[in-house]
């Protein structure tokens, strides 16, 4: 539709569906706490296990801290992603979303953004605790928090592709991991790099910009792939 009034209506409907889905999902998350609390507890537990496994040597702990934090955060988010579309698929709300006349792209953006907020934000808030547990200097905590927030955004958007493709399968959990873990490589490299650079006292501009760039690309491009994946999952 090229009519100006229709264009106006299109713009309205874009944000209307984004807002509606974002609000709906946040409501659901706050009423079913497991969805966002479990990944956080998982991350805390696994980090605790690492500290127990590595032992009391603070130096050794700190030298492995960057890798531990990122790998654990990645696993935590990945586990929570399995549920991203599954409940919608089972209760039929996904069908309604796919049959909406409004752009699916923005509905997906709202959905993943809500997921990012409830998984990324708690991790950002808990990052001082992670730092304490792993012997990371407090001065680096703001960077750690920022890095985790950006990184979790990329992980949410990219991981949602895997969740979309596997939503109709009964045993999607492990398959998601196989599909999306390779895609997480850049996030690990630049995320852990960010911390490493900060610990060494180098400029963190480069990894920070890479993470921001990756996030922008993921936010813009991933919903296309997610939408296609959902349609394929539904079309069976």
């Amino acid at each position: 539709m090229t009519h100006p009034a229709a264009m106006q209506a299109d713009n309205e409907s874009m944000f209307r569906i984004l807002h509606a889905i974002f609000k709906r999902d946040l409501r659901v998350y706050f009423r079913t706490r497991g969805a966002w609390l479990n990944p956080l507890i998982f991350v805390l537990l696994v980090i605790t296990l690492f500290t127990l496994g590595i032992g009391p040597d603070a130096k050794q702990l700190a030298s492995n801290a960057t890798a531990i934090i990122w790998v654990v955060a990645l696993l935590g988010i990945m586990l929570s992603l399995d549920a991203l579309f599954r409940s919608d698929y089972e209760d039929g709300t996904l069908e309604q979303l796919l049959l909406s006349p409004r752009p699916l792209y923005f509905a997906i953006m709202g959905k993943v953004a809500a997921h990012w907020l409830v998984t990324g934000l708690p991790m950002l808030l808990a990052s001082p605790l992670f730092a304490l547990m792993l012997g990371i200097p407090i001065s680096i905590v703001p960077l750690l928090a920022l890095g985790l927030f950006l990184g979790s955004g990329i992980l949410s958007f990219v991981g949602a592709i895997g969740a979309a493709v596997t939503v109709s399968l009964q045993t999607g959990g492990l398959l998601i991991a196989l599909i999306i873990l390779p895609l997480y490589v850049p996030v690990i490299i630049f995320g852990a790099g960010l911390l490493q650079y900060a610990l060494e006292g180098w400029s963190v501009a480069a990894p920070l910009m890479m993470l921001s760039g990756l996030l922008c690309a993921a936010v813009v491009l991933a919903p296309l792939a997610i939408g296609a994946g959902l349609k394929i999952s539904m079309d069976s």
Binding site: A20, K23, V28, G92, E95, L97, D235
Partner: protein, 242 residues
């Protein structure tokens, strides 16, 4: 029932042209042809597993794995895309109701994602928040959900959850209703309410495609029997195996 805006001032038409669908090695349906006008309902009949749900999903566009085409006002529904979906209200096997949300919240998000555009409808401004609330209340009242409007749906019975899904029909301005077993888990009173809504929708010039095993009293309901469109097992007049 209060006055509801007319579905469409123009004549509408849904054509099923030579639909053929296979699942695995099996031909689920073949040579399905039908033309439906505004004001007519179509009831898809057939034994369990004869492809009733599949046909509804084909009409709604959820399933694209079939040959033949489905035309809305003479244009392929696949090409029409969002324009067709803006005319469509679909109710599937699963009610599409979020268990963590209350009936009112469920209707609100559905209205925002699938409801008619808030801007204008038939030249009448209906974006008014007060009027929207009024409409929501009416939808809940129609299906006897008023006293449950702030109870999370997880605590409602299966029948009540189906009622929440059906309450969308009160909000719906869509011309085409595609309903998969709408009477499932609905009690006698609900059936009466629902049948009255069907009548009104058809009177307004709307269109309904549904599956049900419930006998329908409306004379505007035609029947399409999928058992007649199954692949014949061996030879021209090979008996259907049941």
């Amino acid at each position: 029932m209060e006055y509801k805006l007319p579905v469409s001032s123009l004549a509408i038409q849904l054509e099923l042209n030579d639909l053929h669908c296979e699942r695995g090695e099996r031909v689920l349906m073949q040579n399905v042809n039908h033309c439906l006008e505004g004001g007519q309902g179509l009831r898809i009949a057939g034994a369990n597993g004869s492809g009733k749900t599949t046909l509804l999903r084909m009409v709604s566009g959820l399933t694209t794995d079939f040959s033949g085409d489905i035309r809305w006002n003479g244009r392929s529904t696949r090409e029409l895309g969002a324009l067709f979906r803006s005319q469509l209200c679909y109710l599937g096997h699963a009610p599409g109701v979020k268990a963590a949300l209350t009936p009112i919240e469920n209707l609100q998000w559905w209205q925002a994602t699938n409801g008619s555009s808030a801007a204008t409808s038939g030249g009448v401004k209906i974006g008014d928040a007060q009027q929207a609330d009024h409409l929501l209340e009416r939808a809940l009242a129609t299906f006897g959900l008023v006293s449950y409007s702030h109870t999370p749906c997880a605590r409602l019975s299966a029948g009540q959850q189906r009622r929440v899904a059906l309450a969308r029909l009160v909000l719906s301005q869509h011309a085409l209703w595609v309903l998969d077993e709408p009477f499932t888990a609905i009690d006698q009173d609900g059936v009466v309410v629902l049948e009255e809504m069907f009548d009104q929708h058809l009177l307004r010039g709307g269109m309904i495609v549904l599956t049900t095993h419930q006998p329908l009293r409306s004379e505007r309901m035609l029947t399409l029997d999928l058992d007649a469109h199954r692949a014949k097992a061996g030879g021209m007049n090979g008996a259907r195996s049941l």
